[in-house]
């Protein structure tokens, strides 16, 4: 029997890392990630999790240590947010370039300045080109499930890429809600033991990892990561399927989740916890006889182009919500990418929830009203004060 606990998103993440029986954790505290690494420290201190916990002196070293450990063949976990993720920036590219299946929880938080500890998704969006798979979750259950899935995806021979599981700071990290915690044996059975074949530091098989990538080979290594990203789409879908068979929970097709799309001419596209609020509004409007749909993007990387095109083929008013802004372009990252693949459709972009600005039911309704009346692609900053 599984157990249901009323816990925070960070606790759910820590439970997931424990269930994955990680070997090495290297982490540095930062709001709103801290409660995750505190929980893990507790697990290790109590002997509930047999892992080496490296209390590093910075996020840069957290990722460096995870890379060292993963390159030695250990299953590794870390967690960070915001400035911490930005400090890791350099090492993120190295983790993916070295093809190491590290899994990281990112508690999404705004970037300074001004310093702001609250939620938006600018931190992880800024790392979109780093070669990491990015999963954006909607609730605490999905946090736990996605971290378990992340190991299965990352360690797949066809993928071998690190995964960040992004959950909205405070909105999920500090909110308690019921989370079903599967039995450890069943997770062990699902994941299997990580046995790296490409990367291992072992005196019996001396290899050189992280050499100088001369111009003769560098481009090929980049292409290989791109190809792995492409293969990851299939793997993410399969893992989502297999997970649902074993644990009876499913997240769309793994890449995207469609909600009330069938009859909807107006569709909102978004990532993360705001999708829950959108679902609530959609249900309310349905009672009034109005049909609005949601396409939740679960994996921003790899970007599910094909699925998005297919799911949105009949929609005419597309409202893309972004909790980030590409300064100098006046659009969010998702807005830019959606527009680039939906060339003949009206795609309006809504900048929402920056730095913890609450996204209310009225905000969602105003977006729906706006996109239905808009004549052309527009960008709107929602909820700005005078």
């Amino acid at each position: 029997m599984c157990e249901v606990k009323v816990i925070t998103g960070t606790s759910a993440a820590a439970e997931a890392a424990k269930l994955a029986d990680v070997d090495v954790i290297a982490a540095y505290p930062i709001t709103p990630q801290t409660t995750c690494v505190e929980k893990l420290a507790e697990f290790v201190a109590n002997g509930e999790l047999d892992a080496e916990y490296i209390k590093v002196e910075s996020e840069h070293s957290a990722m460096s240590a995870c890379i060292g450990a993963a390159a030695t063949g250990a299953r590794t976990f870390t967690a960070t947010a915001s400035q911490g993720l930005a400090l890791m920036h350099e090492m993120l590219f190295i983790a993916s370039g070295m093809r190491l299946p590290i899994v990281m929880m990112v508690a999404n938080r705004a970037l300074s300045a001004p310093i702001n500890i609250w939620n938006d998704q600018q931190d992880s969006i800024a790392e979109r080109d780093s070669g990491w798979i990015q999963i954006y979750v909607e609730d605490n259950q999905e946090t736990l499930d996605s971290i378990i899935q992340a190991y299965k995806i990352a360690e797949n021979e066809d993928v071998l890429l690190p995964v960040m599981v992004c959950l909205d700071g405070f909105i999920l990290t500090h909110t308690v809600e019921p989370v079903t915690i599967p039995k450890a044996e069943r997770v062990r059975d699902f994941l299997g033991v990580y046995e790296p074949k490409h990367a291992y530091l072992d005196p019996d098989r001396p290899i050189t990892q992280g050499p100088v990538g001369v111009p003769d080979c560098y481009m090929e290594t980049r292409k290989q990561v791109e190809e792995a990203m492409e293969r990851a789409k299939k793997v993410i879908k399969e893992v989502n399927e297999e997970f649902s068979e074993r644990f009876k929970r499913k997240y769309g097709n793994g890449l995207v989740e469609a909600y009330n799309l069938d009859k909807a001419d107006t569709v909102l596209v978004a990532m993360g916890s705001v999708c829950g609020t959108i679902k609530y509004v959609i249900d309310e409007l349905k009672k009034e006889g109005k049909e609005v749909g949601l396409l939740r993007i679960r994996t921003f990387r790899p970007f599910p182009k094909e699925d998005i095109k297919e799911f949105l083929k009949d929609a005419n008013n597309i409202a893309v919500l972004d909790k980030n802004i590409s300064l100098g372009f006046n659009k969010g990252a998702l807005g830019i990418e959606m527009a680039s693949i939906l060339k003949n459709k009206k795609v309006c972009n809504y900048i929402v929830g920056l730095g913890g600005r609450d996204i209310t039911i009225d905000n969602i309704k105003s977006i729906i009203n706006h996109v239905e009346k808009a004549e052309d692609d527009e960008t709107v900053w929602v909820g700005l004060k005078e």
């Binding site: 490296i54 840069h60 070293s61 240590a65 890379i67 590794t76 090492m91 530091l201 990892q209």
Partner: protein
Amino acid sequence: MQFPREELFAPGHRGCAGCGAAIVARLLLKAAGKDTIISNATGCLEVMTTPYPETAWRVPWIHTAFENAAATASGVEAAIKALKRKRGKYKDKKINVIAIGGDGGTADIGFQSLSGAMERGHDMLYIMYDNEAYMNTGIQRSSSTPFMAATTTSPAGSKIRGEDRPKKDVAMIMAAHGIPYVATACISYPEDFMRKVKKALSIEGPKFIQVLQPCTTGWGYPPEKTIEIGRLAVETGIFPLYEIENGEFRITYKPAKRKPVKEYLKMQKRYRHLTDEDIERIQKYIDEKCKLLGL
């Protein structure tokens, strides 16, 4: 036979003729043996030994970035512990985890990562191969560049006479971390260096060795003089050889009579702007330092 014959550092690397860093690597591996994992910081040694698809290393080796050889090694060490305990890997083998970085990667950009790794008590040896400037990028000053040495970013001009700050004492800072073993060494004294490596590896916990390694290109001398110049650095007292074991300081090589620093300085282009007065100043500075150490 004085020295072990096994060559774990292969020829064919791209180091300059007379490269001191290559000598560090070769001696280090001879002392450490094959059950060793190397975490190498970005720098000359990393670049010259691993242009894909060639590697000079016959032991497992990893490079990730410039400032984090110690943090990367922390992860390697932790992984070995976890995998030994949880999955019976590496059997009963004792594996030496050795991080190696140049003076820039150690004393400057990698300083925080090094301090963290030493403070956390990882069972690892950190080797700082000290050539007293950023050689890989073309001889820019580091905090380990000595007083008055000219580099491309501390040039000898009409107003400023080369590097205006004394050399940062990294070994003593490491000793202040309270780690069980700290030593200085020089490639011109291979028995001494190798003995220190072996001793360090026999001790559990964090260890640090700073090894001076003259650089023909950066210091400006003919390649055949690499060993001779290193010897003079020690004989003049400019680079004293010592070890600090569990807090106990011991000079490991005491010159019978210290040679004048002039003999050392005169051989190198980086000091050719020095006047007799400048040399006198350096001599005084070194005399004071040696007095403190009992040299």
